[in-house]
Structures are given as structure tokens and as C-alpha cells.
């Protein structure tokens, strides 16, 4: 039994149009997304803004209602759970947000922010026991226990992200859904937070659903990766295999877009994505930007196809894989 299993998840939003809503259209943010996460494992979802990766994360957390699909937590269908039932299941999965500035209540002392989940999930604890638990998770995340008597503005970005992680860990979840947890941070602080996440995973056997736009960051933390483009998973597989030999041209383009490691290699991004926009409405959504697109791509249904034998865990949604 997987810790989390997601099948056929889809969501559309109204978008665009004039001030009074004239000319609005539906945008398919997520289409037919499926994946599973095992205990202690990290699955990364990688994509650009608008790829549907954050919408997927929010549907998993049941913060957004899916239009279609199914979410299973520890074998139980939680897609339509509400109220108390849903609150109980949330003990197993907690979220960490991108912006540690915006996601901590500025008027609440850290003790309350971090201990909030405990009030719901461990009402038997009295204030002293709760303070002890808060001190414990803060220390686990590399923060002094004295931090709990202070306010968010008294901390740096990296410290705030540690507090955000401590808040998520307070109720001892099995799964953390991390939405761009390091992209607002300096590289040096980024490294500290990624190391902390790796350490916590080793110690607690946590599973992560790690959302990011940066394949280099993902490579440091993930066991498997799912690359999303225009609402669909276009490639999936073990991180090292995908990194070493991407099959979908979009994955290749994302890898090429990474900045050079040395000035002698500058500007060698190779086939960089062709335009800022350009998502095809029919057929393969990437074909307008794809350097390898052919006529039959216009008729492609976007299905993930398993790669050749011996690579059963890999799949790509491409008629002409690399």
C-alpha cells in the first residue's frame, strides 16, 4: 500500500476576460495527473509557473477541490472527505510553503504558530506539554527553543523556513508537501534547508512531495521526478536516470536552461525553449516550442508511454522521445 496514491487528477479554472468577466474561458490547470509516493520516499514535481504543479500539490492537501480524480492516503479514499474526517487525515500530511514571509502569521508568537496543529490533533496536551513539544520540533529544525517567544519578523528568511518546517512537523506527519520550499532563499541558505530536509527524512522516515521549478535543486533531494508541462506529467522516472538521459524534449530543455557551471561554458544552453508562451490547445501541448516536433504531434493525446524494456519505471508523453 502506497502512502499516497493519486489518479486522474484534473482541475480547470476560469481565466482572462475583461473587468466584468466578459470573454472568460476555462483553463485546464491540471489534466489526468497520477502518481504514488511510498513511505520515506521523495517524489519531486518539476515545472514552470503555470505548469499545474502547485495546483496539484494543493489538491493533494485538499485545499482545492479536484474536478475529477481520486486521492488515496494510506489506502483510504480521501477525495471527498470533509470536516472532522478530513482534519484527522491532515495529521498525516502537512504543507510547507514557498514564502516563509507570507506563510507565518506576523501577529502570532512562534509558539502558537508551531503549536497550532497540536491544539487540533493533540487536544489532550496541556500548555506546558505543548510548549515542550514545540521546543523539541524547533530544535529538531535547528532553531533554539527560545525562538518560540518571538515573532516572525525577528527571523531571517532561512530561519523562517525552518520555523515553517517545524510547524509542519509538530503533528508528526508521514508526508510533507513542500511547495518551492527553497526558491525564495539565497543559495547558501538553500543548502542548509535542503540538508535539514534530508536529515529529517533519514531520521523520521518522512515522505516528501517536493514541488520546484529547478531540476538542480530537485536532484539533491528526490528519488523520483515527475516533470509537468501545461497541466500534464510529460516525463517521470528515477531522478538520476531522467537527469542523465531525459526522454521528453521539454525535460531536456529544462536541463539545458540551467546556468553554466564555469564561465568557459556560458551561453551554451543549447536548444533553449523557443518562446515565453506557446502552449498548443490540441495535440502535444509542447509542440509549438519543441525543436523535434513533427506533423503527427498535432494528433497526440498526451498519454505517458512506458519507456523500453528494462526501464519499466520510466515513462514519457512523447511520440518521438530522445
Amino acid at each position: 500500500m502506497s502512502l499516497l496514491r493519486v489518479e486522474g487528477l484534473s482541475k480547470s479554472f476560469a481565466s482572462g476576460g475583461g473587468l466584468w468577466g466578459g470573454g472568460r474561458r476555462r483553463v485546464q490547470a491540471v489534466r489526468d495527473v497520477g502518481f504514488a509516493i511510498e513511505k520515506g520516499e521523495t517524489l519531486a514535481i518539476v515545472g514552470e509557473s503555470g505548469s499545474g504543479k502547485s495546483t496539484t500539490a494543493r489538491m493533494v492537501m485538499r485545499l482545492i477541490e479536484p474536478d475529477a480524480g481520486r486521492i488515496e492516503l494510506l489506502g483510504e479514499d480521501i477525495t471527498h472527505l470533509k470536516g472532522r474526517g478530513l482534519r484527522q487525515r491532515r495529521r498525516h500530511m502537512q504543507m510547507v510553503f514557498q514564502d516563509p514571509y507570507a506563510s507565518l502569521n506576523p501577529r502570532m508568537r512562534i509558539e502558537h504558530t508551531v503549536g497550532e496543529g497540536l491544539r487540533v490533533h493533540a487536544p489532550e496536551l496541556n500548555r506546558r506539554a505543548r510548549r515542550e513539544r514545540v521546543a523539541q520540533v524547533l530544535e529538531m529544525c535547528g532553531m533554539p527553543a527560545s525562538a518560540m517567544d518571538r515573532y516572525p519578523h525577528q527571523f531571517s528568511g532561512g530561519q523562517r523556513q525552518r520555523i515553517g518546517i517545524a510547524r509542519a512537523l509538530a503533528v508528526e506527519p508521514d508526508l510533507l508537501v513542500l511547495d518551492e520550499p527553497v526558491s525564495a532563499l539565497d543559495v547558501s541558505v538553500q543548502a542548509q534547508i535542503l540538508n535539514l530536509l534530508a536529515e529529517l527524512q533519514r531520521e523520521k522516515g518522512l515522505a516528501y512531495l517536493f514541488i520546484s521549478h529547478d531540476l538542480s535543486v530537485v536532484r539533491q533531494v528526490a528519488d523520483r521526478v515527475a516533470v509537468m508541462f501545461a497541466g500534464r506529467i510529460v516525463e517521470t522516472g528515477p531522478i538520476e536516470a531522467v537527469y542523465a538521459r531525459p526522454r521528453h524534449p521539454y525535460t531536456r530543455a529544462l536541463l539545458d536552461a540551467r546556468p553554466a557551471e564555469h564561465p568557459s561554458r556560458r551561453g551554451r544552453g543549447g536548444e533553449r525553449l523557443l518562446a515565453d508562451e506557446g502552449v498548443a490547445e490540441t495535440g502535444c501541448a509542447f509542440r509549438l516550442r519543441c525543436p523535434h516536433a513533427q506533423a503527427d504531434c498535432a494528433g497526440f493525446d498526451g498519454r505517458l508511454v512506458a519507456a523500453e524494456a528494462g526501464e519499466a519505471s520510466r515513462a514519457a508523453a512523447c511520440l518521438h522521445p530522445l
Partner: protein, 324 residues
């Protein structure tokens, strides 16, 4: 030449003015790119803003040194001269493409306003110039774009609009403060390509402020690494990448996820940049440095180490020889 000489700055606080930048000197020639690198809070943005005297509006005080643009002392300029300088000879591209544009004015209104501020042209000429600027930064259908509002554009498109606006006064120098930080990796790559193309084509001098050595590798000719208000290492970009001398530079380079070994802990730098005025007596990096010794407890002269190869590469560290 854009020159910063022995600049010291102090920031306001409840305890009075605190030193935030101390004795910083650097220069950017036309046609060259200087990467000013360091973590948040090291003083790099404060230093860059001072070129246009923008810090004054936030109560930042110059306690020493000066800034010259093509030999002209920026601190001797009156308000009209400063207005001509800003967005004229020297313009700026900021990190946040979301907040740097006014959401209630169309793209066309905002860009023609900047053009008319710096060039003596008619309405129609300004519009035509705006359209050609937008096209030159890789935006298609510029006429249609000019009728749109910032909220209708993606982050990458907004950053292109801001770059077009920065180019509208036909500057000789550009200050780019984390120009790609808030963007997706794929968009970052295209903005880097654009900045490199514009800089070469127009022979611009660029002061590139960033925390990311990847951006430096892509764009810079020279590098100055800043820590706790000081330049701690400086030199040609190839030298800095091939033989980083200061332990801070090495540590910052090593913690990039692009170069790290997967599955191993990243070589993070412990702790954080000390706040203004909380600098140690000796080497300011010593409390976080894996190689600090007793020699590091005394103040370190700026160019404690200079490269024997004569490239002008130097570092503010007394242990470079021992460590290499």
C-alpha cells in the same frame, strides 16, 4: 567608467546609524560586466543603489567615499542632474518584475513616459520607439502588448518590459540587481541571453548584483565578492572560478546545487551574515569559516593576498597560501 571609491554607508536603526558598507571600491568600464556577489544582507544592493543615490530616500547615510560616472561626482549633482542621470546614462533593472511596474497603467503608458522623460520626442515618436524597444527585448506583437496591463503578463514578459524600459534612455551603464532571481529556470536562461546580447551590442557597462554564481558564470567579466560590508575577493571571472582564494568565495561556489554531488549533504555555510554593526574585530567571515585560526582574530588588510599571476586577482584573507 563607473567608479565607486572607498564608499562607506550606514543604515538607520533604533540604536542609531549602523555601519553597513565599509570602504568599498570597485569600477565598471563600458563594455564590461562586473558581478557583485554575496548573500542577502552583505551590503551589495546598498552599494549598487548608491551609484544613483537611491539610498538617501531610505535614510541611508554616506559616511565616506564617493561615486563617479565618467569622472563626474554623483554626490556633487543637483536634483535635475540626478534625474537626467537616473534612467539616462545609468539605468537600473530590479529583481521584482511584479512590483516594479504600476498595475493601473498600461505597458505603453509606462514605457512612453520613461522615453519622454529622457528624450525630446513627440508622442508618436515615443510610441514608435517604445514598440521597437519592446521588439528588441524579444517581445512579439509590441503594439498589442502596449495596450495590456502588467497583471496580464507572465513574470518573464514583465522582466523583459522592465529591461526595455531600462534601455529607453539609451544608457551607457546598467545596474542589474538580481535580474533573474524571481523567475523560472527556463525564463532565467532567456533573460540571461537577452542581457548578454544587449550588453554586447550596445557596449554597456553592467554592474550585476547577485547571490548566484551561476549568473556570474553566464555574464560577468570581473567579479567582486562581498561579505559583511566589505569586498573580500576580486578578480577576472576565469581566475575566480579556477582558483577561488577566499574561503567565503569557495564556500558560496560549493553550495550551488548545480555543482554538488547528488545524495551527499550540500556543503552549506553554517550560520548567517552578521547584521550591520555586529561585525567581528578581525576577519569578518572567521566565525563561519572552516579554516579560521588565531591569525584571523586581527583585522585583515583588504589585499592580504594578491595573485602572483598579475591578473589583479586579490583576496582579503591571511591564510590563502596555507590553504591552497
Amino acid at each position: 567608467m563607473l567608479e565607486i571609491e572607498h564608499l562607506s554607508l550606514a543604515v538607520p536603526s533604533r540604536e542609531g546609524a549602523l555601519p553597513a558598507v565599509s570602504d568599498v571600491s570597485l569600477s565598471v568600464a563600458r563594455g564590461r560586466v562586473l558581478g557583485l556577489v554575496g548573500e542577502s544582507g552583505c551590503g551589495k544592493s546598498l552599494t549598487a543603489q548608491t551609484v544613483l543615490r537611491l539610498g538617501e530616500y531610505q535614510g541611508i547615510e554616506r559616511t565616506g567615499g564617493t561615486v563617479r560616472v565618467d569622472g563626474e561626482d554623483v554626490f556633487a549633482m543637483d536634483e535635475p542632474a540626478l534625474r537626467r542621470l537616473r534612467g539616462g546614462r545609468v539605468s537600473m533593472v530590479f529583481q521584482e518584475p511584479m512590483t516594479a511596474l504600476n498595475p493601473v497603467f498600461s505597458i505603453g503608458d509606462q514605457i512612453t513616459e520613461v522615453i519622454r522623460l529622457h528624450l525630446d520626442v513627440s508622442d508618436a515618436q515615443a510610441k514608435a520607439r517604445a514598440a521597437s524597444l519592446l521588439a528588441s527585448v524579444g517581445l512579439s506583437e509590441p503594439e498589442r502588448l502596449m495596450r495590456q496591463y502588467p497583471g496580464e503578463l507572465s513574470g518573464g514578459m514583465r522582466q523583459r518590459v522592465l529591461i526595455a524600459m531600462a534601455m529607453s534612455g539609451e544608457p551607457d551603464y546598467i545596474i542589474a540587481d538580481e535580474p533573474t532571481t524571481a523567475l523560472d529556470v527556463s525564463v532565467q536562461a532567456r533573460i540571461m541571453d537577452l542581457l548578454r546580447a544587449l550588453q554586447r551590442e550596445k557596449g554597456l557597462g553592467m554592474l550585476l548584483v547577485t547571490h548566484d554564481f551561476g549568473l556570474v558564470a553566464e555574464l560577468a567579466d570581473e567579479v567582486a565578492v562581498m561579505y559583511a560590508g566589505q569586498i573580500v575577493e576580486s578578480g577576472p571571472v576565469e581566475d575566480i572560478f579556477d582558483h577561488p582564494a577566499h574561503p567565503y568565495t569557495r564556500a558560496l561556489m560549493a553550495c550551488r546545487p548545480e555543482v554538488a554531488e547528488p545524495g551527499r549533504p550540500l556543503p552549506a555555510i553554517p550560520g548567517q551574515v552578521p547584521a550591520p554593526g555586529r561585525w567581528p574585530e578581525g576577519c569578518r567571515f572567521a566565525p563561519r569559516c572552516a579554516h579560521a585560526g588565531s591569525a584571523c582574530e586581527r583585522p585583515v588588510p583588504e589585499r592580504a593576498w594578491t595573485s602572483p599571476n598579475g591578473s589583479g586577482h586579490w583576496a582579503c584573507c591571511v591564510r590563502v597560501e596555507e590553504l591552497s
